[in-house]
Amino acid sequence: MPKPQFVYVTYIETTPEKLWEALTSSEFTRQYWFGAEVNSDWKVGSPFALLLDGEVTDSGEILEADPPRRLSYSFKHHKYEELRGEPTSRVVFTIEPFGSLVRLTVLHDGFVEGGKYLGAVSNGWPAILSQLKSLLETGKLLGIPRAALNKGFDVK
């Protein structure tokens, strides 16, 4: 039986350096990550936090940082009561040059069987990564309603 995990692959017309910056700069993430800001010095072992309107929604630790190829952090949710009991998960970004493009693979794992967190994450990442691709390719955002992020557990 495979372990519960979320994997998403997207091809973006950009460079690995720009994509790395987009993943690690809060000015960038605020635009495509529905207002969320990343905060870290991006050194292995350093703390990582995701903030929304100044409030820490998720936090963890940098597990791998190999710019502009691989970034990984642990990820523990704090905002929603329904998800606070879930264990600390892990996010891994793999950036690979692909001809004139970049292939981005996002792996999010460390979920419990039957938990709600995987559903929330599975709803959120496609919206975030669709915005990221559009921002890097067209310079503008899609304007996906923020509700797209929460639907995984709110509406059930």
Binding site: F98, G99, L101, S130, Q131, E137, G143, I144
Partner: protein, 154 residues
Amino acid sequence: MSKPEYVYVTYIETTADTLWRALTDGDLTERYWFGNRIASDWTPGSAYRFTNAGSPTVEGEVIVFDPVRKLAHSWIDRKPEAAGESASRVTFDLEPRGKVVKLTVTHDELGEDGRTRRSISGGWPMVLSNLKSLLETGHVIEIAAPSCSAKDAA
């Protein structure tokens, strides 16, 4: 536990009408689907077929044709390397969300041996990344055949 399935969601700045046309018009699929042209009379129960330079690549039967919301068809890979794979099913769900469309592609009824799943898991992100770029920027991104471009990039 349900049978193996593959799901990919993407949000595209377009209209449901334009996205529907992109999924069902051979002139458009040829541009973002690596030269594969789709053709059918789009009646449930009818045959449809993808051809590439005139040779059939994928074919099957139209199962659901509900413009501009839902399209489903069976999926029989006719490429020689896919010989012996069983028929699977592809469903496209289009949901307008403000000025974007949420597209959900579900490829299910995949064989237990994992062969079809392995081949389509690599293909869908490429096809759908290309489709999104084409509709948003007016041009496709240059996704080359994986084997050559991996070498070029190294």
